[in-house]
Each structure stands twice: as structure tokens, then as C-alpha cells.
């Protein structure tokens, strides 16, 4: 028991033998993950490997077919509604689109979780909101509506909202997709800074290798429902696995072939006929 408890203290999220499928499609086929407390852990993999699904499983929005998902020692799938909501108040999640409430201003969006979950007076909420907005550099944009924000700004507002309740961890769903270099740089920096300054645990799901590797302490690479590589960014770059190397270095051809499976090129051309 002592060993388990000591493990628990530095492992915030522990996933064991996770199985999950959507209809016929198997998404996870026995995944084991440990997310250490206080660090930035990246989960990477090609598109369509269910990285977002993994975050939803951790957040309790989906239930696994088999296996265990533990967050801070609590078994997420076994929690009831009340327990789940209690746990979620300590988690922040940054959606790909930002998921800001479109009918509320930037200020009200950040104030939203505070107003929903606390009885704080409006003056204190104001202080907190301005603090969080200052942290993401958007204090001046508090009167804007979400439709007036660029993608990068929307994500930063969403980040301010995610840290409004001072959570123990934040999950980032593809934070770098579709960003211009400047806002990408701002986000990369912000994620690392916030993690260290607020003592958070961060989970980043992404397929942007360079940016993610730059700020991660530890990386899991997932493909076809299994963990195919793990280690620090340094270790992964020098891995023996050809597949992981192809993914990390973004090589066009390798174990994942450039060509979709097809009959022999020459034969195909010579056969003639219609485009069957």
C-alpha cells in the first residue's frame, strides 16, 4: 500500500489497460499511461488516433469499454454525477476551437466558471478575471465578443477561463492547430509558463511535433490504439523505432508509406480501361 500511495502522489493521471471502441472501430486497444504531477506531458500521434477521445475519457465525458482511468486517485468511470462534477472543477480543458460561449463577452466568459461555482461578490470576480486575463495578455480585450477574436486570441481567452478556478491540471486539445507563427509562439510559451507558475499539471494532445516537443517533459506517442513510443523529447528523437523516428522528424516515407496501398504502378497504367 505504501508503494501505491507514493506512486499516487507523483502520478496525477494513471491509465491502465484502456480499451475503447466506437462502433466497429477500435480506438484504444490496451493503453497504459502515467501523467506525472507538475509536468507537461504530451500525447502525440497521427490524426485520427483518438487523442481527443483520450482527453474526454480522462474528463469523464466518455466511458471506457474496459480498463481503468484514475485521476488524483479517483476512478473516473466509477464516479457519480456529483463526484464527476467535483473532479471537473479541478480540471481545465482547452478545446480545439476554444469553445467560448458566443453570447458572452470575453470578460463574462472568464467570469463564467467563477459565477457558476462560487458565491464571490462581483468586485472580487472582477479582480480575479482581470488577473487571469492579464496572465494571458488579453486584459485589454475584455469587452470584445468571441466573434471579434482571432483564433489564437480565442484560445488564450479559453485558457484564462480554464485557469479561473485554479485547477490542478489542464488538458490542451490540439492547441497549436491553425495558428500563425506569432500566436503559436505565444501559446507555446504561455502553456509552459502557466504550468510552472501555477504549479499545474498539463496534458497536451497534439500532432505538431516541434512545438510540443519544445515544452514537454515527457511524450507518449500513440498509434493504432497502442502506445508505440514514450520518453523525453531527447530520448524519442534518438529512438530505435523507425516509426517513431518518422513521426518525430516528419519524414514523408518510412514505415508509414507515402502511397495508399495500390496495385503495381506500371501494371495499373498498362491495364487501360475506365477509371474503375
Amino acid at each position: 500500500m505504501d508503494a501505491a500511495e507514493s506512486l499516487q502522489s507523483d502520478t496525477l493521471v494513471r491509465i491502465r489497460d484502456l480499451h475503447f471502441s466506437r462502433g466497429e472501430r477500435v480506438i484504444f486497444d490496451g493503453v497504459d499511461l502515467d501523467i506525472p504531477r507538475g509536468g507537461v506531458t504530451a500525447i502525440m500521434g497521427p490524426s485520427g488516433t483518438g487523442k481527443t477521445t483520450l482527453l474526454r475519457l480522462i474528463g469523464g465525458q466518455l466511458y471506457p469499454d474496459r480498463g481503468s482511468v484514475q485521476v488524483d486517485g479517483e476512478e473516473v468511470p466509477a464516479l457519480g454525477r456529483a463526484g464527476l462534477y467535483r473532479l471537473r472543477k479541478r480540471m481545465g480543458m482547452l478545446f480545439q476551437s476554444g469553445a467560448l460561449l458566443t453570447d458572452l463577452s470575453v470578460y463574462d466568459n472568464v467570469a463564467f466558471p467563477l459565477r457558476e461555482h462560487t458565491e464571490l461578490p462581483e468586485s472580487m470576480i472582477r479582480d480575479l478575471v482581470l488577473m487571469k486575463l492579464q496572465a494571458v495578455g488579453l486584459r485589454g480585450a475584455r469587452k470584445l465578443m468571441p466573434s471579434e477574436l482571432s483564433g489564437g486570441m480565442a484560445r488564450r481567452v479559453a485558457l484564462a477561463r480554464a485557469i479561473a478556478l485554479d485547477p490542478m491540471m489542464i488538458m490542451y486539445d490540439e492547441p497549436f492547430t491553425g495558428q500563425d507563427p506569432i500566436s503559436m509562439g505565444a501559446l507555446v510559451q504561455l502553456i509552459r509558463l502557466l504550468n510552472d507558475a501555477l504549479g499545474l499539471t498539463s496534458i497536451i494532445v497534439s500532432h505538431d511535433v516541434q512545438e510540443t516537443a519544445a515544452i514537454s517533459d515527457y511524450i507518449y506517442v500513440i498509434s493504432r490504439g497502442k502506445v508505440v513510443g514514450r520518453g523525453t523529447p531527447e530520448q524519442l528523437r534518438n529512438t530505435d523505432s523507425e516509426w517513431v523516428r518518422q513521426f518525430m522528424q516528419g519524414l514523408p516515407d518510412g514505415p508509414v508509406p507515402f502511397h495508399y496501398p495500390a496495385p503495381d504502378y506500371r501494371e495499373d497504367l498498362l491495364r487501360g480501361g475506365g477509371g474503375d
Binding site: Q61, A99, T102, P113
Partner: protein
Amino acid sequence: MLDWIRRLGAGWIQLFEKLGRGHLFLWKTLVGLPSVLVRPRLLLAQLFSVGVLSLMLIAVSGLFVGMVLALQGYNTLVDFSAEESLGVMVALSMVRELGPVVTALLFAGRAGSALTAEIGLMKATEQLSGMEMMAVDPLHRVIAPRFLAGFVSMPLLVAIFSAVGIWGGYFVGVGLLGVDEGAYWAQMQAKVDLHDDVLNGVIKSLVFGFVTTWIAVFEGYDTIPTSEGVSRATTRTVVHSAFAVLALDFVLTALMFGDN
């Protein structure tokens, strides 16, 4: 052939699944209603977008329906020298049938489709998921106030529709066609019964408000989170609401007025 049967079966299974989801959804929404009453601001905003924004359409439609009724009714009644009954005819048609039914159909088109599209887009842009992850139940925070607003707005809109329509009938009948003013109101008051006609109309409007709003918010919540899914759900809201209103109207009319 076998494929056809399989598809038919799948269709039925989907229908029952949807029915089940719809009722569970309704139950959870009703459970969330008390949390709305604690925060009247949420309800207020929805009353605005559901009720106030539908008001113009409803009032103008009511006016014209009443005017047309008076015009048509007059042409028929004048053959029997019974044009004095114009007021009765307009009032009974409006209060019993046209008020609740036409208002509900217009409401489904104006407010219902807007509700579905709004909730559907919130789902498509992950706002509902985001709320869940912030430990806020979207059924309580988003759905319940909209549902309550629709339920409250409908009887008010129906009353306005009927009142404006009766006034429109008065304008055409008395003002343009020369029906005696006293007869228009007096016959109406003598024949329209508070309980049998007005109250039953209000009951109808409550039922229609409940059903159309339920369909609208459920279609939005149950939508496939893509732009195509949202547009389909919006269409379904209008079509299903129209069917539901007309079918329920028949049932309610048979129950209420069947014995005279």
C-alpha cells in the same frame, strides 16, 4: 430485399432510441427547472429572444388572419342575413382553433428553429462540451431556461394573436363592411364562453408551447455536430412541430369540444 428489411428495422430501432433519448432529455431538463427560477436573469434573456422577437410576426399574422376571416365570413353570412354573427364567428375561430394552432406553427418556424440552430451550433462549436468540462450542466444552464421561456411565451403569444385578430375582424367587419358595432361585440360576448372557449384555448396553447419547445431544444441538443447536421435538425424542428401541433390539436379538440 433482405437489405430493405434490415434498413426498415434499423429505422425503427433509431426511432425508438430517439424517443427514449427525447424523454430522458425532457426529464433531466424538468429536473433542472428549479435552478432557473433561482436565476431569473437567464430566463429573462430567453424570454426576450423567444417571446419578444416573435411578437411582431405573431401580431401582424393575427391581424391579417382576423381581417381575412371577417372578409370571408361576411360574404357567407350576409347571404343568410346573419352578418351580425360575424363577431362570434371571428372570435370562436380565433380563440378555439386559429389562435393556438397558427401561433404554434409560426412559433415553431420563428423561435423553434432559432432555438434548434442556436443549441446545435453551441454543440458543434464544443460550447456544450466545454460547459460540461467546467462542471456546469448544459441541461440546467442552457436548455432549461430556453424550455421554460418557450412554455411561458406561447400562451401569451396566443392571447395576443387572438386579441389582435378579433380586433382585425372588428376593423374589417365594422369599419369597412358596415356590420353593426354593438352586434359585433354583443353577439360575441353572448356566445363565447370563458371556460369552454377561452380557457380551452389557453390549455391548447400551453400544450403546444410545451411540445414545440421540447422538440426545438431536443433537436438542437441531439444534433449531429456539423453544419449539415444543424441545418437538418432545424428543418426537423419545423416539420415535427407542425405535425405534432396539428395532431395534438385534433386530439385536444375532440376531448374538449367533442361533446357538444
